[in-house]
Symmetry: C2
Subunit: 142 residues, 2 copies
């Protein structure tokens, strides 16, 4: 009787383990960035390279970008930072020293969140760069 | 005796199920794009906007990018395509009509794979655009 109960308990635990395992095995697809990103809006803040221009990547990564990301709330899916290394075309200058990108669901929500904080964001520029950035709003096609 | 054997088998199967479940439960982190992308090299082919410039996004997505991606083999982690919508700074022109980006592990492997196919790639440009692209090589910081 005791061992019969144990078998039942084990069967039950195996069932739940198998069930939760199946749930886990679906996650990779859900987390695949290709699936998540398509259709999102990107706001890319691009810092062109030129002689005499400076960019403090540590400050940008640890202070500026987290500050701006903090204004965006649930609308922000993720943000990325890249550091320019070289031009891919020989004998041409590096196009950008750095690019920071916000992946968002709604452009109007982004604009509404940034507007009241624009002065704070601009004031912080001087803490890490003397470059005036270009900003590209784009849609993730693939 | 028979039920003792069954208990042992069930214990064994539970052990393996639990073990493989633990492996599965690590996947979300592994597949999180932030974890996967950090440290990768990006090669971004950027098509600046200007009056009279054209860009056929359907051809680019269905023919050109898959062709180039096909040259890169295992070095290519993923590629993305974005379509420029607007400048994020009022009263300034759209910076780029489109950007195609290859996320790769090794820049030298990329260069070695592209070199013998450069003529085919350039020849295909005329099929979708009259823009001369800029190319940014960058490193994913975050």
């Amino acid at each position: 009787m005791k061992s019969k109960l144990m078998v039942s308990l084990l069967l039950l635990s195996t069932f739940f383990t198998a069930f939760s395992q199946e749930k886990s095995s679906q996650k990779p697809e859900k987390y695949s960035s290709a699936v998540v990103e398509k259709g999102l809006i990107k706001v890319s803040v691009m810092y062109p390279f030129a002689e005499g221009k400076t960019f403090d990547m540590v400050y940008y990564e640890t202070k500026h970008m987290p500050m701006v990301a903090g204004y965006l709330g649930e609308n922000l899916v993720k943000y990325t930072i890249e550091k320019g290394i070289a031009s891919g075309i020989p004998n041409t200058p590096l196009p950008f020293m750095a690019i920071g990108t916000f992946y968002i669901k709604s452009l109007s929500d982004y604009q509404a969140a940034i507007a009241p904080n624009r002065d704070a964001i601009r004031k912080d520029f001087a803490n890490y760069t003397n470059i005036t950035p270009a900003i590209l709003v784009s849609e993730v096609v693939k």
